[in-house]
Structures are given as C-alpha cells and as structure tokens.
Symmetry: D2
Subunit: 366 residues, 4 copies
C-alpha cells in the first residue's frame, strides 16, 4: 500500500532508492511565508552526509539539495515544496552478488516476500539514503518551528555500552564529538570501543536522545493521535530503530507512583512548571509545555564483514561475507534524522491543533 | 483535531467518557462473513473489568457489551460494527473536588490547556474506561485474525522491579496468576511487592510483552507505515505507556552486529526460518513470518493516596490527597488492551497489504 | 474497506442499518465550547422525518436523538460526540421476500457482489436511514458555523420537470411549501404533478440548491482538496444523487468566457465583491467570500409499485412488484441532508485552513 | 493544509508551479510488477501538450517526462514512482504585470486571501501545468488497469453549444477530430464556432464524457467513499470543472422512477446485465459491472483578451486586458486529464476493495 506519506496537515512524501536517479521529498501543507532556501536545507543534509569521520562509510556523496517548487522570493508559498538530491556516480555492479541471497538483519527477504522481487542495488528503498528526504523535510519543519520559538536538539546518549554522563549536557559539545555526544570523555571512550569493534569486523548500535524546548502546552490529541504516539511512529519509522521511550521511559515501569509523578509548581506563559519531568513533557498525549524528551534505540549496522550464515532465494543455505564500504555505526549520522522526524511530527501537531476551541477559531476568523 | 480514529482500511473510532452515558467504538472496514457475537466480545471485556483481584480498583462495573449494527445472522456484514458499553450508576459528586486543581501525572492540566475546560468527572476522555472501545475493537480484530490462523497473546513480563524468568513461558499460566504473569514464582513475589506498595499508599508499573504467532511474511510497508512503526503508535496511544520496543529492543543498542543479526536458516511456508529472533519478526518494517514480539513499559498509576504537591487552575499551589478507589497497578488490566491494539494494527496491515503485487491482484479479480 | 468516515479534522463516522438496533454518528474533532443539546439536533432530524406530508412514506418514525458523549454542561468538550437514534418497532418480515432478488435502482445486487451477502431488511446500510447520522452531524457542524456567522440554507429548486422561478427567493417560503420550494406557485404545480405520478404508481426526482452565506475568503485548497471538490464528494455520497454543480455549473459549458467571468468590483471585509457569481463563490478551489451556491440532482425513488423486470440471485429473470410504504419522492426530505453534508464539509475546511500562513500561526500561538 | 495528495492505497502527490523548475508527481502504492516506462507515460502527456492544434495556446512545450524512482528492469517495484517534467525556458517577465491585480475567473484573489501572497507567474500552482502530474499518474494507473482488463476512454461530448450526436460513437474518431469529438460533423461545426469565438477575443467551454469498460462488480464503498462520490471529487478537483454527473445525471431529476430504473436481465461473469444504464454503472456507490459513464462540465477559459473589469490588490478598480498566448478552449486538452483522474480513482478503489470478504482474504493469504 501507500506508505511513503506522513502527516495530516503538514504532510511529507519521500521517494527514491539508493541506486536510482536520486531521492527526494514533497513537503505539502507548509505554511506560506516561511523563509527557506537550499542553503538552510543543505546544512541539515550535511550532518547526515557520510565520509566525515572514520566512524562512517568512506563513500563520497555530496548530497547536494535542489528545491524544485514551493518557494517564491525566498519564502514558502504554501504549495508543495519538492526537494531532490540526485545520486552521483553509482556502480551497481557492486551489488549484483547480493541479488541472489538474503543479508541477515536487512530487508532483502521481506521485500521479496512482499513484492515478489526487489531493486537489490544498495538496499533499494530500504537504504539509509531514504532518510535524505526525511532530513530535508525536517529542515523545512525546523524552519517553521523556529518562527514559533521552538527548538529541536538531538545527540548521541549511548554508543554500544558507553553512556554519557547526563550531567554533561553542554549542547555545544555535540559539534566537538565525532560521535555527536555531549560528554566528551564518554565520547573518547566510545571512539576506542568503536575502533576495537571495527577491527573485529563488527558493528555497534546506540541510543539517541532528542529534546524539544519552547513547545506550547495543549498540543496533541487525547486518544490515538497522542503526541507521544505520533512521535513513537515517527521515530520507529526510521530504519534500525528497535526501541522508543519518552521521559523516564522503561525506568517508569519499575518506579513507584510517588517517584514518577511530577509535582506541579505553577503555570508560566500557559506552560506547566513542574518539580521534575518524568513525563517527558507530555501528559495524556498532550504537551504540558515542559521540554519534550524522547529516546530511540538504534541497532548495530547489519552489514558486517564477518562471515554470516544465510540463505539463497530458494531457501538453500550459504555462508556470506558482505563486501563494500559500510558504516560501522549509524548512530551519529542518525542524530539529525531523529531531529527531523521529531520536527515534522511537532509541526503537524501544531497545525492540527489550531481548531481545538471555538473561541480561538472565532477570533482567528474575525 | 480528530484523533479518535485509528487505521486505514480496518478503522476504529472510539467515543465516550468515564462518567457520560457510556463508551463505545465503531469498527469500520471489517470484512464480511466473520462470525461475531456479543459473547465473543464480552470475553475480552471481562479481562479488563475491575474488581476481579485485590490489585485492581474494587469498583463494580459489569461492562456489558451491546452490538448495535453490522452483524446479520451471526456474521459481520462488512458495514460498521457499532459497539457500546453503557455506564451504570455513577456518582459524579465524587469528582467535584478535582475540578479545581490538577492531579500530577494526569491529563487534567493538558486538557484545560488544549480545550479551555474539561469534563473533570473521572478523568473524562482520558479515563481508562476509554480502553473499553479499544478492547471491543480488538475482539473484532482477533476474530478476523483467527480466521487467518494468527494468534495474539500478551502477558505481564515485569511488575515494579520483579521480572519473570523468560524460560517460564507456559502460556496457560497466565490465567493462574492474578497479575497475568507466566512465571508463577515471580507472580507470587510480585504480589508481595504490590501489597507492600499498597500499604504505603503508593502505586506500581510494569512491562507487558505481546507475542504474535502465525503471521505471514510480507506484511507492512517499507517507509513511514512500517509494521513496527504502526505498532509503536498503536501501543503508545494507550494511556500510561512510556516505552515501546520490538525484538531485542533497547538491548540491541548495546549489542554487536554479529550478535544482533538473526542468521537465516531456510524458508518454510513463505516464512523465514531464523537461528534467533532479535528482530522481533519484522525486518525493514515488513513481517518476516517469525513471531512478532513487542513490549510496552507502563508507568505506575498516577492516582495515589499519598499527599502530593500540586496547583489550582490559577497556578496557585496546594497539597492534595486523591480519594476514591484507584488501581494500585493497571498492568494486569492493560494486558488485554495491548493485545487489542496489536490485533487492530495487524488486521489493518493485512487488509492494506493485499495490493502489493499485480499478479496477485490479477488473480484476485479473475 | 473503511468508507463510513468523512473529514480530516472535523471528522464524522456513521453506523447503522435500517432494521438494526439503530443508527448513529460519532463526530470527532468538534471544537470545544460550542453550545449543543439534543433539542438543537432534534430540530434538524425532524426535517427529514417521514410521515409529515402526503409526499413521503406514511411510516411513523419518531427518530428521537440521544447524545451519548462529548457534551459537558451544555457545551462540546472537544472529544467525540456520539449521537444515536434507536429504531422503534420494526417488522423485518416485510422484507423477507426481497432477500432473494435484486430491486432495480437499488444496491441489492452490488452489495451481494461486494460482500457475498447482505442484510436485506429495508436496504440495510444503503437505506435512507443512514442519513440520520449525517443530519445529526450536520446539526453539530451548523452549530459551529453559527458561531462564525456562517449560514447554510438548502431548498427544492425543481421537482420532476417543475422548476421554481429563481426570482422567488423568499427563504421564509420554504416552511410554507410541503416540498421545501421557495416559489409557492411552482410548489403547487409540483404537488399536482406528484399526485399524478403517485396515482401511476411511479416516483419522481428533483434538484436541490444550497446557498452558503457569510463564508470567509481563503478557505479550501488549490489542488485535490479544492473546496468544490470536497463538496462534490460530500454531496455525491448521499444516495440517489446523480449530478452536482457549482455556480453556473453545466450552463458554464455553453457560455462564453466574457459571460462566465465574474468581474471584480472591490473587496469588503476581506471578501471579493463581484458583479456576478457564476463561480458560485469558489475560485481555484478556494472560497472568494461570495455566497457558495451548489446544486444536486436527485434521481426518482427506485422503489415503485409498478411491475418491474428483475433477476433472482442466481441470475434467473422474474417480474417483481415492490410492496410497502415508500416515498414517492425523497427530494423534500433530502434538503436537510444536503445542508448537513455542506455544513460538515465547510466546517472541516475552516478547521484545516487555519495553518495556511506562518504569521497567523505565530500570532495564534503567542 | 495539505491538499496535494489523492487516494488511500494508490496515492498520488503532485507538486510544481507553472514557472518554477518543473512539475511532477509521486505515485505511491502502485503494485509491483507492472510494466512501465517513460515512453508509456509520454504518450499520455503528449495528448495534453499545447500547440498541437489552432485551438490551443501556441506556446511550445515539449513536456518531456523523466522517471526518477520506483522502476527496476522495466517494471514497477512497489515503491514510490517519482515522475518529473522540467520546465523549459520561461520568461517570467511576461507576468510581472498581473502581480498587482486579480484576473476574473482566476484564483489570483483567492490565493492572496489564503496565503497572503502568491507566485503570480503563470498562475503558479493553479496553472493548468499542475495537471501534468495528474496525467503522468493517470498513465501509471492505466497501466495497472490494463493488466486487469479495464479500459478508460474520454472524449469531447460538447463544445460551447455544439453537442455531438450520441449515435456517432466510433471511438476511433477521437484521433481524427482536433477537438477530440467522436461525431466528426459536430466537430467541424464546433471548429467553426470556436474560430468565431476566437475572433471575438473570447473563449469557450464544453463537456467531456468518460466511459470505463471492463470494471468488475462490487468495487466502491456504500457510504462516504461511494465510487461515484470519489469520482466526483477526482473530477471536480480538475481546475475549470463546474459540473459533474454520472449515468443519466441531471436528466434523472426530471425522469420517472419507471424510466430511470435499469431493469436487470441477468448476471454475466459476476457483472449485472441490464436493459439500460441510467445508473452509469454504479448502484449504491458500488460498481455493478456495466460501463461507468460520467461527464464533466468545463467552463470557458477565463483568460480572454477582451477588456474586463477588475481590481487591484488594494481593492481599487481597473480595466484589464490580458495579454499572452492562452487557450481559447481547454476542453480537448482536458480530455486526457479526465481519463487520468478517473483511472487513478478506480485503481485506488480496486486496491482498497480487496479486503471486503473474509473468505477471499483467507484464500489470498493461504
């Protein structure tokens, strides 16, 4: 079925495979009048570009963005913004070998099960390159949120077993760490860990945390379109995500109610002031005006050079050794993808939430 | 905005508040010809009914279901199935006190922030009674899945800090444990823990695991409507859920690729046979035919009798003591809700997935 | 598939068959704070009630409305409004005969073709009683529109070949005509025509016109969700509608551009002042602030007492004589249904349209 | 809001303005395995290309299509098909004049009312060039329908006041008439009429009829997603459409029930055999297997060279003379657009309709 569109009012549709002509996104429902340019979007894309550290694939991709519609005189017009990144030289021959078998941890088998065949070059549609469209859409969403004073910030909280100290929360550190961590000591230890992993021809995962500040209270819906439910879907739709939590998350399961409840202290600019934020900024599916805090667990890259047991398309067994240049970890490159999906979800929720009260609607249309 | 509808083809819409005339659901898009009756649905509702153990609120609610449309001669007709449970005697006066302040951990503040006022009786729309509609819809979904040989089973994996031994996986044990655990030793220890918590006027959370067997491979979509992404939303839309994971979940983040990849061994009935199931039955957003395994972290009940710090609607502080009969833990009653949302999501995915291949469509319409 | 839900933000879901327990609607996404009561809704339902003139079926149905959720202290709360009308004594035996054959002009054959069998009692889901849910939802939408100074008014423009004089546009006349016409002379002639038709055991159709005043300019979307496109779907989803037009409609096809263009004269309160309104209040899919004018062509009631050629379920031919009490014309009863679907569509468009400009969104969230 | 996406399972999203970098469409949810190429799509685009007869704008546009994703080895892969047509040399200066005033019959005023400003070059998003995306998507839909034995054929039924004789239904004639009429005598008279109209610096409208053959019975849904309701929306979303009807359409309103009912004669291959087809192939919103017959009324091109009364953005009056090369009639070029939107709607309905019966679903997943 259709599954490449996300959102209700602010709605994005991605397209493109790893080794086709390119990848892109159509952003529909973006409000008119938002300053936007290719430069603004390129900055976000550059954060997911490979080849910037030794911990990502050495493939060289410039990922140069072009805006094809929806902008006039430097501002969004309210009509669809079509954004594309065209693929540069691709050698599909690299992939002819994997056409005939199924890589463990990849979507090769399930694509064949669903569609009967697949574009096997570089993972096709399930390639990490699909996230280029998400990041570009996220840049647009961030441009909208910026106008409303809302900021979305993600970083690497954990690499393999190495967790950063939560007290080291200097946001400026992210740019100093090749792994996008805030705790630079932990980052150094994580680098060591990764190098060892790479020597073993293996790969690692990690945890990304995302913090949203400046969110108004009252955004989100009480039942199926809870703000956290939509965030859960948004983040879980990123390949390699295996877990999602908000606020105290899984820790809440073993806490007492008296520990986990956040005492209310007051109201400031319509936002709740609370003694703690175990709720992660959302109560009953609706934002309370505190920071929204969410985390995503990212599995280790499935493409590893070690010999693995697998099967051919006919089910017969074989031993495989995946060649090529693969990311030993995708966490640092996925940080901006988590930001993007968070921003897209929040922007949609903000636009959907304007019709909640008849007095506000009345004033709006006066 | 609208937020009470879930699903694309198999689509459910819930309605109702804790203290209104009743609660219910409209199930639209259910295939014609599925055997269904009030008895079938009632069995599911009875599993979430309060007052069955000392670990749930002693409130007496029969929650008797009525089907109002969509069934003819014992089978679904393909038209909307309207299901209602009417509320019995409710004493709204119990709640007049909470009208003026915001309970920590509840949606009182955020409802006011969104809508300007709220039906404060018993939590209104954010009451746990809203899940009655979900469970009824889940019963319909399970009736569909049963016809296709698919089984959905959830149980309590953890209560507070007490985790069941994963080796104790006798499914029949669920009915023997008042907490819906499979490990009866752990269940006994969890009961002790809960009694102590209750004596301290406090509450507990826990973790629910859900296992789906018999799922065909090839269900789900590769990008935003990944099967796990839709499950994440479905489960996270249940009130009190703070975390969601699939397969090895958060553990994957600290694993190596060589550990986390599931080796393929063969293909049986179109389903992958794998050496392990860290993926939880889903690869690239599409089912691989293994069991789907997911977990939800449930926070402790926010309604506790201990004194808490809070605020009035004007932001001024006060100390509150919540009265009334509240669940010291909702986990055991939420088990069937997790099953229901899982079943609804899978049924929708199965119906949406029929148009994936032109050869299948051609044969279908011959 | 699901097909019983309409709308994006203001979203309605109807349920129920002719001879089931009842019919109803869930209205989701209604703004909080709108005054609403059963009395307000009942007035709309009374306008579609049968048995009020000799030109509708003499069946006695009170169609008493109950609101089951979503209202607190006389106002909408923003949560789903569940509205039901329970069926009174129904003698299903009347319909056992039609179980085995297909009535011309009815959905009997197509239901069997789609679902394999059908609830044959009184047309089941394709009965005119399904419109009760639409009218109730329309009453809610009209309550919203009233708060915004928008009025929706429909009337009978034509009965069989008898058209009212467009100069006779005294809206107050509608209540004086048993056929809901404004031209009382034409109404009298239409009554004569209908009586003759009824004597011949035949039925008639007609045209309903709907006029919306007070609509702001700028509502609707430029491409697929054009305001007129959504109105076309809304009106065409009413059973028996075979044609839809807006403004000068089909007449535009034979006009010259110089005749059909509406000259702009000025701007008043943000609305276009035009020398004429051939556009029917919508340009490029977006309201211009003039009256929205639309028309629906209603086919003659397919249930007629005259002998008709038809087939049994196995395809074998037979002659049928439909018994029972049927409307010789449904146009007068459908007037309020056209109003309802128009109001629902406009309310949704108004709520969806609030996020069109970043400056407005910025001010809204300040 | 978002309004550039159409469809539920087979879902299209168009983007692009008249004078931006290009226009395009993303077709999501297309089944895998459908033969598709740029050549196949180009043939459809060539039918809407301007400059082919003296009755269309002499602007030279090649409208060369490129497929950017979703095809592998000549077949669709089931993933999004991104299709673009890049604009060739555009002289935006032509349009600077119209930036300051509102053209009658155009969307200039309403775009400003909605978005606060507009891309005024060539109509921006409300330009006829937006239909390029629709036609490309329609070509994809037609490729799907062809695999299922379904054919969609549209032609010009009326130009200004000149109607073709319905007996002249030689489909091969369409290519012989520069106006896409089937009655070549009427076509010749229509040419004369158009030339006279053009001399008077005026424009004309007309009626397009579309006929679908080979449709199975049982497609469409009974309530809001009636097949005719979705077709009504699809066709009405084409700019310049002011009326839509199905089967006998507006004529049904003045017919008797005994005339308008189609007698059933038998069942063939699951399709109804009827004595007539006043219903236009759809009963109760569901296809009966007869030809689907629909008509669209197209208004005269609003861009005319004659002097017109209009206003500036500040509401002050002025006389305008629209310059440039405009179509004196768009009907012949819109024929393929009507086919496209019909094909897209039917393809979606076919894919959505596969889950109607549990026995069929059971067999499908065996």
């Amino acid at each position: 079925m259709a599954g490449s569109t996300f959102g209700t009012i602010f709605r994005i549709t991605t397209w493109g495979e790893s080794h086709g002509k390119g990848v892109g996104v159509v952003v529909d429902g973006c409000p008119a009048g938002v300053p936007l340019s290719e430069e603004i979007i390129q900055k976000y894309l550059d954060r997911r570009k490979p080849g910037q550290t030794r911990y990502s694939t050495p493939r060289k991709e410039n990922d140069t963005v072009t805006i094809q519609s929806g902008i006039f005189e430097g501002k969004t017009t309210g009509t669809p913004i079509s954004i594309a990144v065209y693929n540069e030289t691709q050698r599909s021959s690299d992939y002819s070998e994997i056409a005939g078998y199924y890589r463990p941890g990849h979507a090769d088998f399930t694509f064949d099960a669903k569609y009967g065949f697949r574009d096997y070059r570089g993972g096709g549609r399930s390639s990490g390159r699909e996230t280029i469209g998400r990041v570009a859409a996220g840049a647009v969403a961030c441009a909208v949120l910026k106008e409303l004073g809302i900021n979305v910030f993600a970083y690497t909280k954990m690499i393999g077993p190495i967790t950063g100290n939560p007290d080291c929360s200097l946001l400026e550190n992210r740019i100093k760490s090749p792994l996008c961590m805030l705790d630079l000591d932990a980052s150094a230890r994580a680098e060591e860990y990764l190098l060892k992993t790479m020597q073993q021809l293996d790969s690692s995962g990690g945890i990304i945390e995302c913090i949203v500040s400046g969110m108004p209270a009252g955004i989100g819906d009480p039942v199926f379109d809870k703000l956290d439910a939509n965030l859960a879907k948004a983040i879980f739709s990123i390949g390699a995500v295996k877990g999602f939590e908000i606020g105290s998350g899984f820790l809440a399961a073993s806490s007492l109610g008296s520990e986990n409840n956040d005492a209310f202290l007051g109201i400031q600019n319509g936002r709740a002031v609370k003694a703690s934020n175990h709720a992660g900024g959302i109560l009953g599916g609706i934002s309370d005006g505190s920071d929204i805090v969410l985390r995503a667990a990212i599995k280790p890259t499935p493409s590893i050079a070690r010999t693995q047991q697998s099967i051919r398309q006919d089910g017969s067994p074989l031993q495989i050794n995946i060649k090529g240049r693969h990311d030993p970890i995708i966490v640092p490159r996925a940080v901006v993808v988590v930001e993007a999906m968070t921003a897209v979800t929040l922007t949609d929720a903000l636009l959907c939430g304007m019709g909640a009260r008849i007095d506000h609607i009345h004033d709006f249309y006066q």
